[in-house]
């Protein structure tokens, strides 16, 4: 896959401005063309940051205030120049750094849409074509011919966002702007961004809303004091960040039980198979074994659609906890989340996690269509700091002769009245039992164990 953004060993230092240094900068810029900074006259904002964002990828940047997130975004946009290093961006870039930047208060919303669109790189004709879509999206058609100074800040931001997303960029950079507007508009923004992602627009977010990073991003970067701490799976990066914020050391989780397959806590590896387990967490509580079983307690790897299934979590408590949540996620092999829940979402208030035990997630009927799936299991605090997070810790295959589509097969039946009749039911097309599913699984699975 080719990259959309490449950031190569980028350093950025800001000069410290004093009364005299401005004039000194003017002189040296004009006469010597030399803008090198003395160390005592500058503050580092980014240190040796390197990463690439693939075309069509959604990339999140997180970190505390002052960690260099916005500086990085501005360098990618081209607003700021890196002190050293190279940044390459392919395609038309639109940056939502400040919505409605450049709106002039005295002129109407309509005129501002045109000017803003031209600033973002559209031609007058392109804006004419999009004008109605922009106004509809902003939802302020009644006020479009009023001067912008009469707008509320919400209306201002709606119009700004509407223009920016209709630029049809190849790369969209978003700095902490999804949190604006009311609930309805925020939801609209997120939906629009998901639509753009679906159409292959490369997205880069800077945000403090970690949920958005988990939900929208394919990968995330955690910046701290201008340096990249972690890059990779957004859930893992967000979690590592939360661990740091909580002040606990991220440690490698070791399990005494190897039955689940690989050892956890391996450093992220670029060549890694996406179906391989990833595991992280503080290790205060451990999911020693995660298994998918039938009602008799036997391990399953393949099952027929609609079978009763239980996910067992064997819990080892190393440090007793009072704030804990157990979570389960089921994903299709293509990465689609089929279902996710946890005890907190379902209103279970934690009391005590004193000693080892077993958690059982019982599903009387797993109504999935044929395909391979993986399970994430986790135990974490209510704010999301993981004790043990096991991504893709088990895989299973659902077999079925029915070539229905989607991910979920609701229990259903066909009923016909009147003159609609069918000859017979072809029994070969009904659900297949587990042994046949096992055969399908072995045919689908490629040999890929690392160890």
């Amino acid at each position: 896959m080719s990259f959309a953004i490449s950031v190569d060993h980028v350093d950025k230092s800001y000069r410290l401005w004093g009364r005299r240094s401005q004039f000194a900068t003017l002189k040296s810029a004009l006469l010597k063309r030399d803008l090198k900074l003395a160390p005592d006259a500058s503050v580092p904002a980014l240190r040796d940051v390197t990463f690439a964002v693939d075309k069509g990828e959604a990339f999140g940047i997180i970190g505390r205030n002052g960690s260099g997130k916005s500086t990085l975004l501005k360098i990618i946009t081209g607003i700021l120049k890196p002190t050293s290093g190279r940044v390459t961006v392919v395609g038309r870039v639109a940056a939502l750094i400040e919505l409605g930047a450049g709106f002039h208060p005295e002129i109407t919303g309509r005129e501002n849409v045109y000017i803003n669109g031209i600033m973002l790189g559209l031609s007058r004709r392109e804006i004419e074509q999009r004008f109605d879509k922009i106004v509809d999206f902003s939802g302020i058609r009644d006020f479009i011919d009023q001067p912008v100074k009469t707008y509320s800040s919400g209306m201002y931001v709606r119009l700004g966002f509407a223009v920016a997303v209709h630029v049809d960029p190849d790369v969209l950079l978003i700095d902490e702007v999804l949190s604006v507007g009311d609930e309805e508009f925020s939801a609209k923004c997120v939906a629009k961004i998901q639509e753009m992602k679906y159409r292959g627009v490369t997205l880069v977010f800077v945000t403090h809303q970690l949920d958005q990073v988990r939900n929208l991003c394919d990968r995330a970067l955690w910046l701290d004091h201008g340096a990249a701490v972690e890059i990779g799976d957004p859930t893992r990066v967000v979690d590592a960040y939360l661990q740091r914020v909580a002040g606990t050391q991220v440690s490698t989780v070791t399990t005494s039980d190897e039955s689940a397959g690989e050892r956890a806590g391996d450093p992220p590896d670029k060549e890694k198979d996406p179906m391989e387990e990833e595991r992280w967490g503080s290790g205060e509580v451990i999911l020693r074994r995660v298994a998918i079983t039938d009602p008799e307690g036997r391990d399953l790897v393949a099952l027929g659609a609609g079978s009763p299934v239980t996910i067992d979590l064997d819990v080892e408590v190393r440090v007793p906890q009072t704030d804990f949540v157990f979570g389960i996620g089921i994903y299709h092999a293509d990465g689609t989340c089929v279902y996710g829940t946890n005890t907190d979402l379902e209103g279970l208030l934690p009391d005590a996690l004193q000693s080892d035990g077993r958690v059982r997630f019982v599903m009387p009927s797993l109504d999935l269509i044929a395909g391979s799936y993986r399970v994430d299991a986790a135990v974490h605090t209510r704010n999301g700091r993981a004790f043990d997070y096991r991504r893709g810790c088990i895989r299973f295959v659902v077999g079925s002769r029915i070539h229905d589509i989607g991910v979920y097969r609701p229990q259903h039946d066909w009923k016909f009245d009147g003159g609609i009749t069918f000859r017979a039911v072809d029994n070969l097309k009904r659900n297949v039992p587990a042994p046949i599913a096992e055969y399908i699984r072995s045919a689908e699975e490629k040999p890929k164990r690392r160890k």
Binding site: Y14, R15, W17, Q22, F23, T25, L26, A29, L30, R33, L35, K74, T77, G78, I79, L80, K81, V93, A95, I97, E98, A101, G102, H104, E106, I107, E111, Y114, I115, I118, M119, L120, S123, R124, P147
Partner: protein
């Protein structure tokens, strides 16, 4: 970083033509938004100015200088106002649009150019008034109109280049050196008096003073406008060459300065 060449300003202008046009019309619209006469002020202002000069210099201080003095004054003062207003306003053009420079990938050079174009529009809108006044005085028999007036656009192009270069210079430099605006305000006030607007350069007795006036880059422009409209003869060769030289020198220096300061603008604002 590409080296600034004489073609670059034109390239920039062409690349951002829609942006500059849109921002200019925004400036003009915003300026008159909410006023009752609206855009008519662009015509009314020079008209009223002409009225004031006629009143003052025929009733209060009848001038012994060239006649008709109000028209002479008016011919010189319009291009001067264009120059002075555009250069002065450019000093804040980048600073007051900090939001654009810091938050949007925005071609900063467009900002001083927008200031120049919007003042050029004002200048152009005042020209019909100047022409009508000239015709009125001609009918009255004070002056005779000549075809030389058709050369006005060429002088205006050269002056616009000259002003644009200066505007780029001061717009970028004043971000790092904010005192520039106050220095320029006073310099331009002085400039008004050492440019032959109120008087003719030949009427100055002292030779060194005349040489000083000749050094003022606005002198050839103002003198040429007066030559074309008021006196009805072709501009002198020296003035023509000087105008061309000033126009190109100003544009190239303006772009070089702007190029060199561009990278610090977003941080320094």
């Amino acid at each position: 970083m590409p080296h600034a060449s004489l073609l670059m300003p034109l390239q920039v202008l062409y690349r951002h033509r829609q942006l500059i046009a849109a921002l200019t019309s925004r400036d003009l619209k915003a300026r008159y938004r909410g006023s009752i006469l609206g855009f008519f002020w662009s015509l009314a202002n020079p008209l009223l100015l002409l009225g004031v000069y006629t009143l003052v210099f025929t009733l209060f201080f009848p001038s012994k200088q060239v006649q008709p003095y109000p028209l002479f004054l008016f011919t010189g003062i319009l291009p001067w106002t264009f120059f002075a207003a555009a250069v002065l306003e450019s000093t804040t053009s980048v600073i007051s649009n900090a939001g654009l420079i810091k938050k949007v990938m925005f071609p900063a050079e467009a900002l001083p150019l927008v200031v120049v174009t919007s003042h050029l529009v004002h200048f152009v809108l005042a020209l019909p008034i100047l022409l009508l006044a000239a015709i009125a005085f001609a009918i009255h028999g004070d002056i005779t109109l000549h075809a030389t007036i058709a050369l006005f656009p060429f002088v205006m192009i050269l002056q616009t280049c000259f002003v644009a270069g200066l505007a780029m210079m001061v717009a970028s430099a004043s971000v790092l050196f904010r005192d520039l605006r106050d220095i320029l305000t006073n310099l331009i006030q002085l400039g008004f008096f050492i440019t032959p607007i109120l008087y003719q350069i030949d009427t100055i007795g002292s030779r060194p003073l005349r040489a000083l006036l000749r050094l003022n880059p606005m002198t050839p422009f103002v003198v040429t406008y007066q030559d074309l409209l008021f006196f009805g003869h072709l501009p002198g060769l020296a003035d023509t060459l000087l105008m061309i030289a000033y126009a190109f020198a100003s544009l190239s220096v303006g772009f070089v300065v702007f190029e060199r300061l561009r990278d610090v603008l977003a941080e320094a604002i």
